[in-house]
């Protein structure tokens, strides 16, 4: 496997996904969740599957445009999402009407209300945290390795975040605050993967100073390939189990993590090292002239 030779293909695949995602993003925008747009969310366990129309009979009185989804392993829960700021009394009334109509014994429900400004703030705060984290990591990597490794690792990181955002834009998956926690985790996880390979390159550079950089990179990746795959597999397994068995709130967190881990593995193998190679080469051509 010659990664340096095929680097344009690998980069091309990523760019294609990102470009499609960004085009979707610019034309249609994200499908923001309630916690970003502001509104009300009510989740009730009915105990049996009811149709959307049945639920609408109750909900219409409060908001005709509310969307109604099914949730739960047996589809016996419904989630009502309204972009209106329903009053607490309205919420209690809606819940009570369901309880009454379907004879629900244990009141099993949750509701959430978000002011419209919260989302904007969470977003800017998350962006700020991400920026600070990135700069801190760049400093650490530059200190432990060299600046070029740092830059390459950060670009790979940005790549993973962009890929995850693209998948969200393409499939119109709702973006909420759990998604932000996930993006921030991908930040940490993907860098972890990249560092392991860079550590191997650093070691091989020391052991064989005369070897060409192409060979060093290819060998280093080959040597760490099993570890990268095994680790990503185990992490993927745990997150996937969480996705399959988890409740709605956990699933919205698990899904971006799954994409991020796959993308993180891909970028550590096929994006970060070739990028470092290019940065390194630019330096040697400069000194040759």
């Amino acid at each position: 496997m010659n990664i340096i030779k095929n680097k344009k293909i690998f980069l091309g695949i990523s760019l294609a996904i990102i470009i499609v995602g960004m085009v979707m993003l610019l034309t249609k925008g994200f499908n923001y969740g309630i916690d970003f747009t502001g509104g009300t969310l009510i989740q009730i366990k009915i105990g049996k599957t009811i149709t959307v129309d049945e639920a609408k009979e109750i909900v219409d009185e409060y908001d005709k445009n509310a969307s109604i989804l099914h949730a739960g392993a047996e589809k016996d829960e419904i989630i009502i999402k309204s972009t209106l700021d329903l009053s607490n009394d309205d919420i209690t009334n809606i819940i009570d009407k369901f309880v009454e109509k379907y004879n629900i014994e244990n009141k099993n429900y949750q509701s959430q209300k978000f002011g419209p400004f919260m989302g904007k703030e969470i977003r800017s705060k998350a962006l700020l945290s991400a920026l600070i984290a990135t700069v801190a990591m760049l400093i650490y990597i530059s200190w432990r390795f060299e600046v070029k490794f740092g830059i390459a690792a950060i670009v790979a990181l940005v790549h993973d975040v962009l890929i995850t955002l693209s998948v969200y834009a393409i499939f119109r998956i709702p973006v909420n605050s759990a998604f932000i926690a996930a993006i921030l985790t991908i930040l940490g996880y993907s860098i972890n993967d990249t560092i392991v390979i860079f550590d191997r390159i650093r070691e091989n550079l020391k052991l064989n100073p005369k070897e060409s950089i192409d060979n060093i990179i290819n060998n280093s990746i080959k040597q760490s390939l099993r570890r990268t795959i095994n680790t990503s597999l185990t992490t993927l397994v745990s997150i996937t189990v969480l996705y399959i068995l988890g409740v709605e709130d956990v699933r919205v967190l698990a899904f971006p993590l799954i994409i991020g881990i796959i993308s993180g593995t891909y970028s550590s193998l096929f994006i970060a090292s070739p990028l470092w190679y290019d940065l390194k080469n630019r330096e040697s051509t400069k000194t040759a002239i």
Binding site: T92, K107, F114, G115, Y140, L184, I195, D199, R227, S238
Partner: protein, 421 residues
């Protein structure tokens, strides 16, 4: 075969197995009782059920002034919530001008918000609508008993004013007492724009003491006394976000997440044993210890477990496996170039150490930033991620290594196949 080390190894496995059993099932020996870990860990509202409200102060104040305002508001809300009898309410200032109030076990948000937001603005107003004294001048307010005309002991709220209040009250009562018209002799006691008592002033009151009488029972009198003592909120608070989680739904989420975590760990164990044979088995013991460390430190530090926290925990198990995988792959490499098991383990650990450290520290940096700058669920995620990474480094670097060496001395380390070569 080394007898002493074999016994030691079996002992360690037994202790780990016993601790896991205790963590899962709890145990009772005589009068000592160790509860299930599942029940001893504090659960966040999303798992335990309850109400949380985020309120925002409507003010232009900045810096120190704002900080002081928020501290006051928090103290007042605290006092009011305590009057509700909620167990362990959690009231915290979030960011600059937000307050997050978490009340477990309450399921009517409106009731909670009403009590939190009650202004309890107390005013003494004369008949010309002049405000004489306000709640801010009240130094103490408590329940006392006063004999009524019929000789019955009735609860009343007794107030004592501060210096400014005493002076104003004296001046006002003097002015009012001189009036001849009975209508004009009244000083209205108004709470939240509602007249709750309209006593007629007969004499000048100079000692700064007043009594609010009305149709109180002990409960309502003490509630009013508390509200007045706590005073009005210094700023208006607007409800930004409200969340109610029914207690059973939260528990269901918790149970399912715990189940998912258990299955994930089991799958990882199987994977590790198949891939790495004996070291894989060792890593299973180390991972169990890792999980115990994390759960125990969460209990000890009183970290509240939330849903995102569980996700962070499971992710960190994945990363704990990573450290083991890194080390074992290195050991395999050393074995392949013909080194003995003992030297391979030493070299494998030494050479994997830099990548374990560097990769985990970079992730740790992200975790710390998340914890420090994040709010609510993001913070919870950060905490478990930090705990998980630190625990994973400790177990991978020290415990796995120790157990592996113990294993080598037991098996003699002749059979390199057992070690994955």
């Amino acid at each position: 075969m080394n007898m002493k080390n074999t016994i030691l190894f079996i002992l360690i496995v037994a202790i780990v197995a016993f601790s896991s059993f205790v963590a899962i099932n709890g145990v009772e020996i005589g009068k000592y009782k160790i509860g299930k870990a599942k029940e001893s860990i504090d659960l966040g509202l999303d798992l335990a059920g309850g109400v949380y409200v985020i309120l925002e102060a409507q003010t232009d104040a900045k810096g120190e002034e704002l900080q002081k305002l928020m501290e006051q508001t928090k103290a007042i809300i605290n006092e009011r919530v305590n009057g509700l009898g909620v167990s362990e309410p959690n009231i915290s200032i979030e960011g600059e001008k937000r307050i997050r109030v978490e009340l477990a076990g309450i399921d009517d948000p409106q009731e909670a918000i009403d009590i939190i937001g009650k202004t309890a603005q107390l005013q003494f107003i004369d008949s010309n609508k002049n405000v004489v004294v306000t709640g801010k001048n009240v130094r103490s307010s408590e329940v006392k008993f006063q004999q009524s005309n019929t000789g019955k002991e009735n609860p009343v709220v007794a107030l004592e004013f501060d210096k400014e209040g005493t002076e104003n009250f004296a001046a006002a009562t003097k002015r009012v007492a001189e009036k001849t018209n009975i209508e004009e002799k009244i000083i209205y006691i108004v709470l939240d724009n509602q007249v709750i008592s309209s006593p007629v002033v007969q004499d000048v009151i100079t000692d700064g003491k007043a009594v609010i009488s009305g149709s109180f029972d002990i409960d309502s009198a003490s509630k009013l006394a508390t509200l007045i003592r706590a005073g009005a909120l210094p700023v208006e608070m607007k409800e930004l976000q409200t969340s109610v989680i029914g207690p059973t739904l939260g528990l269901e989420a918790f149970d399912r997440s715990v189940k998912a975590g258990g299955i994930a760990i089991l799958l990882i164990f199987i994977f590790m044993i198949i891939m790495y044979k004996l070291p894989g088995f060792i890593s299973c013991i180390a991972l169990t210890i890792y999980t115990l460390i994390v759960i125990f430190s969460m209990e000890l530090l009183g970290v509240k477990l939330t849903l995102p926290g569980i996700a962070g925990l499971i992710l960190s198990i994945g990363m704990a496996v990573d450290a083991n995988v890194l080390i074992f792959e290195r050991i395999k490499e050393e074995l392949r170039i013909g080194k003995t098991v003992r030297t391979s383990i030493d070299y494998g650990f030494k050479r994997a150490l830099t990548s374990v450290l560097d990769s985990n520290i970079t992730t740790l940096i992200a975790g710390v930033v998340l914890y420090y700058f994040g709010t609510g669920p993001i913070k919870g995620f950060g905490v478990t991620l930090i705990l998980g990474i630190v625990a994973s480094m400790i177990t991978a670097v020290f415990i796995t290594k120790y157990l592996l060496k113990l294993m080598v001395s037991i098996t003699g380390g002749k059979n390199t196949k057992l070690y994955g070569a």
